[in-house]
Symmetry: C2
Subunit: 375 residues, 2 copies
């Protein structure tokens, strides 16, 4: 394969731009500390994990054995019920959320979805795609769902099944909807037809490694959970994992007898490189010590919060969060440091590649913009 | 990042298996002739094309400019209406088909989907996901839709909008549903509320380069078209492109004001490496000469058909197809050469990496299994 000189120069310029932009990225939950060069030899082949990772594939260039190993890791991490779980590696957290809501709809075609206004926007996108009725619930100041509002919303619809879209680590403030409290509300209202999906895009890889693990996964009686692969673990390709109760998944799988192999996934052809990337990152994390890895991120977040307060910025964090929330800085700062902004708040996230030196550089930059220059 | 010796050995064994399986793959429409090593430096960064490729992204590590260039190429190839088209690079043909049907449903919420029994199984999967009513239409012997059956099915539902899921190159026999004939049927029945999506997963990259290009894309008045990127162009990662009329896409985009940037795609985070791969393949194809490239594949297909006939196998092809259909060979042959099998027929596909020597090796292997060994 050969390309001409113009095309080559386009490529080089783009790589240069990406390198520069990558260096000053603080607002996106993307871990930039990785090196998957050991996997590059696989990129010479048309690898494809089409179909169900637990079915035999007639396509010999797949990495489904590695995929199953990745799924075992996450099922274990999320306390999935032994012998009654299923999952697959997908293209990102949004697809995992789509899958969870799809299962929910197949279980309860007349169900209503309840989700918090601070949930990721894929909730609303997927609800529309699946043609589901839904109710948006208010958020508390820290981004967590307002339980009283949820109680009230469900109360007036007690005759219909309840589908909860809960979040473990919201996009803007890394807040956690407490599933135990939600379950108590549903119990009080005697709701038995219920499905709970948890969007754990970011925190699904953090909570299990905290000194005191919060209850957020299958131990709270949820039905499915989605996590991003490219966020905390880091990857050049977006990817994610969804784990559900096997009994839920079977509802979808058993109804498609017209394909030779059972296929309960959303996509047809599926990426076989991303399971390799996740597997490699997990193996490497085991060597480094996941608890220490997470602890370091939290320390940097504490440091950032402290440093911002020192220059008079009312920064804050949710408990154990690596997301530091601050009033939206001047536009120039947001652009340079690629901060995520929503209305009057912005955030920076101390992913594993962010160290104290980078925080210092950011704080100096920010301070310059805040203090009027004396003439 | 470091992994232990056991993990390293697992990786090496898998690579070895994949190498062997890749070498003898004849049944899947996956072009194995590629070398994207020039793009590997991009894999050091968290590249992400989240959102609409035509909106400004606050994430600096994106390849959306390259993505737009890829979309221009395909819009041109498919004769998209000037100034009224939109598209994005997605994770494969199935997502493109989901997108087309999603647009169709948003245009005609009361529509019925008509698709041929030989359509790709993603049609049925997506129809279920989108909760759409549908009618399966009979196929002719060559795999093409049965127009009389379509006429009859639409006739009894003339009061409802018509959503056609047509195929340009069916999975098993590479047959083409003729959109002009379909349009004539709809016209005869005075159907004005209609949406036509074309699944051109494989043939979308072949038809435009034939000596006599068949009418299959926007020139026939269709609304959207989906093509796979990893099939004819070849890629280690599944990918695809969907192009739709912009006016259709705006129906989805305008209805989601709750996100800062307009996002009319299905996924949230989107792969930024696959646009680079497609772009690189297109640039390289321009240098090699796309017409010659396609012509070579057809010649090898003719050769394979002839060689199979010579040993008494009633092989056949649709006009200009690179898919050679044959009665299902013994199981051993199907497994070794990874042939796609459906009921009593199987096929091999002469993708750009398949040469006459490989066909000879296959025919020799097959002949051995057919002729009883004399003792």
């Amino acid at each position: 394969m050969r390309i001409n000189e113009n095309a080559e120069s386009t490529l080089n310029k783009l790589l240069d731009d990406i390198r520069k932009n990558s260096d000053k990225m603080l607002g996106y939950p993307l871990n930039k500390k990785f090196d998957y060069s050991a996997l590059y030899p696989f990129l010479s082949y048309t690898i494809n994990n089409a179909g169900d990772p637990y079915e035999l594939s007639s396509l010999g260039t797949n990495t489904m054995a590695i995929e199953r190993s990745v799924l075992n890791f996450f099922a274990d991490l999320f306390n999935a019920p032994e012998g009654n779980w299923w999952g697959y590696v997908n293209h990102g957290g949004s697809e995992g959320n789509l899958y969870g809501l799809y299962l929910a709809r197949e279980c309860y075609p007349k169900g209503i979805v309840y989700y918090c206004e601070s949930a990721h926007y894929s909730a609303q996108k997927n609800i529309r795609l699946l043609n589901l009725p839904s109710v948006v619930i208010k958020a508390q100041a820290n981004g967590e769902i307002d339980y009283d509002d949820l109680n009230e919303a469900v109360r007036v619809n007690r005759h219909l099944p309840v589908i909860i879209f809960a979040t473990a680590g919201t996009t803007m403030t890394e807040a956690r909807d407490d599933v135990d409290t939600i379950q108590a509300i549903l119990k009080e209202l005697r709701i038995t037809n219920k499905y709970i999906h948890v969007d754990a895009a970011l925190s699904g890889m953090i909570y299990p490694f905290l000194e005191s693990r919060p209850r957020f996964a299958f131990e709270t009686g949820i039905d499915s959970i989605s996590v991003s692969g490219h966020k905390f673990l880091g990857s050049p390709l977006p990817c994610g994992v969804v784990i559900s109760k096997k009994s839920n998944r079977d509802r979808i799988a058993e109804k498609i007898p017209y394909i030779d192999s059972v296929d309960a996934t959303i996509a047809g052809s599926r990426n076989g490189i991303t399971p390799l990337i996740l597997w490699y990152a997990i193996q490497s994390l085991k060597e480094e010590g996941a608890h220490e890895y997470v602890q370091k991120c939290i320390e940097v977040a504490k440091y950032a919060e402290q440093k911002l307060k020192e220059i008079g910025i009312p920064a804050w964090r949710n408990p154990n969060a690596i997301t530091v929330v601050l009033p939206t800085p001047p536009r120039k700062i947001c652009k340079t440091w690629q901060l995520a902004v929503q209305n009057d708040i912005a955030h920076l996230i101390t992913m594993p590649d962010v160290n104290k030196e980078k925080i210092d550089a950011f704080v100096i930059d920010l301070e310059k913009e805040l203090i009027p220059v004396e003439c």
